[in-house]
């Protein structure tokens, strides 16, 4: 279980997160929703150590992640897929995946874990030796997710995986995510603008507005509350 308590982050004079607390259960997806600039991306970056926090703690399982360097946080089982996927376009598809697996597995073991990713996303297998720059938006997102899960993390942070994708591709991606979460008993924090598709697979939903948590409810409750949807989620 991921427990975030009273987390605050400032960029200079701008307070991006003001005492955010939330929990995410193991084996399920927690959607983090809200408008642009609400602080969703900052929340993920604070959890994985990319930005330093002013107050608060992040605990995952028995570990306190706060204050650890990014590499160590990653190596304690946290996979972070940044916004836009940020696959390394100068490297091949296989090299991107190798890189994701390298901190955990030796050269021989990696092949097996790479083929697991190829089973999950067959489109990547055909392109394994091509540069990631040749991939479409959907394929890049698959690669970014594959690169994060190839090392079998226990916590997965996803920043807008549906960004710029066609609805059918988004739907497929969400289905794969749900399956992956159940299979691997993952804890998933899914940041999305596309609230509708996030709510379709999440069990819990947290809505952030101007750096604070305004709603924390089961996903069905949020999906069914039309006032709340209109007010914060725009659908």
């Amino acid at each position: 279980m991921l427990e975030v308590e009273n987390l605050s982050v400032s960029y200079g004079a701008v307070r991006a997160l003001k005492g955010v607390s939330l929990r995410a259960e193991t084996g399920s997806i927690t959607a983090v929703l809200g408008a642009n600039g609400a602080g969703k991306t900052t929340l993920l970056r604070a959890i994985s150590g990319l930005v330093s926090t002013q107050t608060g703690t992040v605990r995952f399982g028995s570990r306190t992640l706060t204050g650890m360097p990014v590499e160590r946080i990653v190596q304690s089982g946290v996979g972070h897929v940044p916004e836009g996927g940020s696959v390394i376009t100068e490297l091949t598809v296989a090299e991107n995946l190798e890189l994701g697996a390298a901190w955990r597995y030796g050269r021989r073991e990696r092949a097996r874990h790479l083929s697991e990713v190829y089973d999950l996303f067959p489109a990547l297998k055909e392109r394994s030796s091509q540069h990631a720059s040749s991939l479409s938006g959907g394929e890049r997102q698959m690669l970014a997710i594959g690169r994060a899960v190839v090392s079998h993390p226990s916590l997965l942070l996803l920043d807008e995986p549906s960004l710029g994708l066609a609805p059918i591709i988004t739907a497929n991606l969400m289905a794969v995510l749900l399956e992956l979460t159940r299979q691997e008993d993952l804890t998933v924090l899914l940041v999305e603008q596309n609230a509708r598709s996030a709510l379709s697979i999440a069990s819990w939903a947290v809505v952030i507005n101007l750096g604070t948590v305004v709603v924390s409810d089961p996903a069905e409750t949020v999906a069914a509350d039309s006032d709340l949807r209109h007010h914060y989620l725009g659908f």
Binding site: S48, L50, V74, H80, E90, L91, L99, G100, A102, S151
Partner: protein, 292 residues
């Protein structure tokens, strides 16, 4: 015709020396976006250390290895102590730090070994080979230069292309934040990058010293030529450093051979300007915006 062949052969050997200094510049630039102005001075220092070791009466090869090992160590130490504090500061800070190091090292070397012109021994004979019945301007030592620089380039290429640490180094160069998110210890790799660059420099220092006067400032002009070579090759491509070095070496050899040695520095400058006008991103670089 014989003149042309001799000039060309000399240009190749000279060019490969530029390439090994340029390789050091490129290894550092692609990983940290810093131009290491002290690249030549660091090589000068390791070569002077070899000079002192030679003076103790040990053979050439132990001294050669000592210089390379000192380069490895020195490069790492410089990164950890001087470069790391300015890594995420405005680029001018790093320029001043590496430039300051250049001046400091030349001063220190002058204080220890004196600012006199000396000679430095070569690993092999520098007398021109005889092909058929004609002597050519290419010696056993020139062959050694070719073999040593190509071996270093191949080693670096294999390291980057086929090893996990090379994959990490490439990832760090292209996308440091993403690399960190994939568990790469970026800080360590930057140190390693500087260490490798300093080894390439140390090799160049040992190769240049026998062919010129040997004094604390003997690498200065070489650095200018190597910088031309690195820019020509694209500043972030190791292969570009090699090709850029060869082009620069040949161009300068033709300028020197046909127009006179004193015009070589101007030749390098003209070459640099032409490259910056026609293809500012270099021959082998990914054309992207960058800060220099």
């Amino acid at each position: 015709m014989r003149l042309f062949v001799n000039i060309t052969l000399g240009g190749v050997a000279e060019g490969l020396i530029f390439a090994s200094v340029a390789l050091g510049l490129v290894l550092i630039f692609r990983a940290t976006s810093i131009i290491n102005f002290a690249q030549g001075a660091m090589a000068m220092l390791t070569t002077f250390i070899a000079f002192s070791v030679l003076g103790k009466g040990v053979g050439y090869w132990p001294a050669f290895l000592v210089a390379l090992a000192c380069g490895l160590l020195f490069g790492g130490v410089v990164q950890l102590t001087l470069v790391r504090p300015v890594q995420n500061k405005p680029p001018l800070n790093a320029v001043i730090v590496t430039f300051g190091l250049l001046i400091l090292l030349e001063g220190v070397a002058g204080a220890i070994w004196g600012n006199t012109n000396r000679g430095f021994p070569a690993a092999f004979s520098q007398k021109g080979l005889v092909v058929g019945k004609t002597a050519i301007a290419f010696s056993h030592f020139d062959i050694f230069i070719v073999v040593a620089v190509l071996a270093l380039s191949i080693l670096v290429g294999v390291l980057f292309r086929f090893t996990t640490i090379g994959l990490r180094m490439r990832a760090t160069a292209f996308a440091p934040e993403v690399a960190r998110l994939l568990g790469v210890r970026v800080g360590r790799l930057l140190t390693l990058g500087w260490a490798l660059a300093a080894v390439a420099g140390a090799l160049a220092g040992l190769l240049v010293a026998p062919t010129s006067v040997f004094s604390p400032s003997y690498m200065d002009l070489i650095l200018v030529y190597a910088f031309t070579a690195a820019v020509l090759g694209g500043l972030d491509s190791p292969l570009g450093a090699l090709v850029g070095g060869l082009i620069t070496g040949l161009a300068l050899a033709y300028v020197g051979g046909y127009l006179g040695d004193s015009l070589q520095p101007i030749g390098a400058l003209i070459l640099l300007i032409v490259v910056l006008m026609i293809r500012p991103e270099g021959i082998f670089s990914r054309p992207t915006a960058r800060r220099v």
